[in-house]
Amino acid sequence: MKGRKYPLYFAFPALAVFLLFFITPTVIGFYYSFTDWNINADTISFNGLDNYRALFQEPRLLTAFKNTLIFAAAVTVFQNVLGLGLALILNEALKAKNFLRMIFFMPYVISPIVIGYIFRAIYHPSNGIINHVLNSVGLGFMAQDWLNNPKFALFSIIMTDLWRVTGFSMVVYLAGLQFISKDLIESSSIDGAHYWQRFRFIVFPLLAASLTVNVLLAMINSMKIFEMVMVLTDGGPGYTTEVFFTYIRNMFSTGQFGYATAVNLMLFVLVTLIGVPVLMGLKKREMEY
């Protein structure tokens, strides 16, 4: 058995499921994006690039595109920075570290919809805890209508999602930290390296694999954000927090299936165009350990 590989046909069941439930709908979706598929039409006919032409002329989609990118960039960066920071702290010999690890990870296992409803209450301009606290410590001038002021709505969604997902990144980084040999850290300390130098030249490079996983997952998941926006603002006020998936949902709900499929396909292309180079770049800097 040693040194031998499993036969290829072992992968067939998984491939069949993947083919049936992912590849096939994607290919069919690709076809439908070039049709006028509409709930009110009796027939579906090929309409060339009409859907794509229409979507590039739609200002709402531009807003959704911009918001999705802002959201993805902010969440990817801060989820990783905060997750790594927490992992480094909770990797130290703290008394309550297991308890704290659980606390920080817990939001990730709660449904985003439930979290959305909780934060709707927290952000409420009159009865929400944030404005209450700000008012009670004399910072009432900072109190805002967090979800309904167009200047703060997207920011509030980003903060809520960060609260939810940071714990996940923390766990991945913690797992990575466990694989770094203590000998390396100790010998660098003996050589006189201080904390920042140890982190920059030893810990961070050896966390490359964790970084790849975290950045990629954060980026892909945040580009597919839907539930949190849906519950907190439903893309509003107006279209100020509209993201790709709230727009796609809206198009599907109005019965414009062909057009909605075209938008969905565009999101798929966008995620691939951003995701693949990022993956390749991060993989390059991963080092064998």
Binding site: P13, H124, N148, G236, P237, Q256
Partner: protein
């Protein structure tokens, strides 16, 4: 190695077989269920013919789809009685009201037919749902129409055919107000629009918010325009104008009176007559503010009445709640009314016969009285026993005086698409021209997406 391979293969094969067995099992079960259902449907058909009090031998569970904007409590009571009498259960499925049409159409196109469903009013729904192919026809059921007001039957008839049985009460839109707040401010319901503004200013001077608007929830904000339409736009364009809007011969952006409604709402915003944090306003808080006397008036619909009753009791609804129509520039205006929703049965419904039995059961006097006891409203049955609350009586009087008009949305096939979002933006930027232009563009876009004549 060979042993290992054999064991692995056996495991894979047995897992696959288990999966297949699982599917096979399900098929058998569903076949069994289908057989059972067919038998019970037959039994129900016989039941209907014989006696209503005899329980079905093999009771079935009927699926009843309803928009989540409709109060399900009265229906639940009726279905409880139906189960007692026939043994048949009714499972309520509530779908989002805003997307109800399209969700039903999607279910129809995938063959996922409910046994019956409650559709929005109007014969325009027949066109949407391709009623002649898909829905049961009711015009020949004399017993069904025996107690329904003839004008309601006429409203359901298209080319001599009827595919929906109206059920419920005539709805009403307008301005609901707290009588105590009005008394304290020393004001009366307005005689015209200018008077309404003066009243609001006086109320504001007493420290109470004159108007509460549910901008965050979106839909309540539209009611200002729907109520304003009948008093301000209808008199200007007439029924002929509405017919032209239906075919896109008249453009929304060619109606100055409609633009004037945006200007009017802008005036309310600029005068500070809405609550603080108006963008965070919700329907739920609207009820609380009105009930507690912290807000004086709300533009809303009759759905607010049971909600206020739940929160503040019957006494509040009977003694403290008032209603008046959206005033025009010259007079008190007219009330908006909506026909009741309609019950529809797909011809391919699994338990179509039992569903017909349920509809007929719901139409019995005992059941309609029970319905109106749970959800009082302006009745559509000639001999219905109903205790109207005063605000409903006000609207009934207006109807009888000819001072009511059907909601414009029930008269047009294209909808005011994305109106909620548009109004949220309007409350932020206050740009009348932009809001009016976008409103007209969205209306045309919806007509186009529905492939309607004149819009394509």
């Amino acid at each position: 190695m060979r042993k290992m391979k054999t064991v692995s293969m056996l495991l894979v094969v047995s897992l696959a077989l288990l999966g297949l067995a699982g599917c096979g099992g399900n098929n058998n079960n569903s076949n069994a269920a289908n057989n059972g259902n067919t038998a019970s449907t037959d039994a129900n058909a016989t039941n209907t013919k014989n006696t209503k009090d005899t329980k079905a031998k093999d009771p079935v569970t009927l699926s009843f789809v309803i928009p989540n904007t409709v109060d399900t409590a009265p229906f639940t009571q009726l279905f409880g009685e139906f189960e007692k009498q026939t043994g048949n259960k009714v499972e309520l499925q509530a779908l989002p009201g805003g997307e109800f049409d399209n969700m039903m159409k999607t279910r129809f196109s995938t063959g996922d037919f409910p046994d019956l469903f409650l559709m929005q009013p109007g014969t325009k729904q027949y066109v949407k749902l391709r009623a002649d192919e898909m829905l049961r026809e009711w015009s020949g059921d004399v017993d069904v129409w025996a107690r329904i007001i003839p004008s309601m039957k006429d409203a359901q008839t298209l080319d001599g055919k009827i595919y929906g049985v109206p059920y419920g009460a005539t709805g009403m839109y307008g301005v609901f107000y707290n009588k105590d707040v009005f008394t304290k401010a020393g004001v009366e319901p307005p005689k015209n629009y200018a008077d309404l503004i003066e009243i609001a200013k006086k109320i504001k001077a007493t420290g109470v918010t004159p108007f509460y608007e549910g901008v965050k929830d979106g839909w309540p904000a539209q009611i200002f325009y729907l109520t304003g339409w009948v008093s301000n736009v209808d008199p200007a364009i007439g029924d002929e104008g509405v017919a032209k809007l239906q075919t896109n011969e008249l453009k929304m952006n060619n109606i100055p009176e409609l633009k004037n409604l945006f200007t009017k709402q802008k005036e309310l915003i600029d005068l500070g007559l809405y609550q603080d944090n108006v963008l965070a306003g919700t329907f739920d808080e609207m009820q609380t503010m009105l009930g507690e006397g912290k807000a004086a008036m709300v533009f809303n619909l009759d759905g607010i009445i049971p909600q206020l009753e739940k929160k503040f009791g019957k006494e509040f609804v009977n003694d403290k709640l008032g209603f008046f129509p959206f005033p025009s520039d010259t007079d008190q205006g007219v009330a908006v009314v909506t026909p009741p929703n309609q019950l529809m049965i797909p011809t391919q419904a699994k338990h179509a016969d039992a569903a017909v039995e349920l509809v007929k059961f719901m139409l019995t006097k005992e059941m309609t009285d029970m319905y109106y006891a749970a959800a009082p409203g302006i009745p559509i049955f000639e001999d219905a026993k109903v205790d109207l609350v005063p605000v409903q009586q006000t609207v009934k009087d207006l109807i009888e005086a000819g001072k009511s008009k059907i909601n414009i949305q029930n008269r047009l096939t294209p909808v005011f698409a994305d109106f909620q979002k548009l109004l949220q933006i309007f409350f932020i930027d206050g740009d009348v021209d932009k809001a009016y232009k976008d409103f007209a563009a969205n209306y045309e876009k919806d007509g186009k997406s529905k492939l309607l004549e004149g819009f394509k």
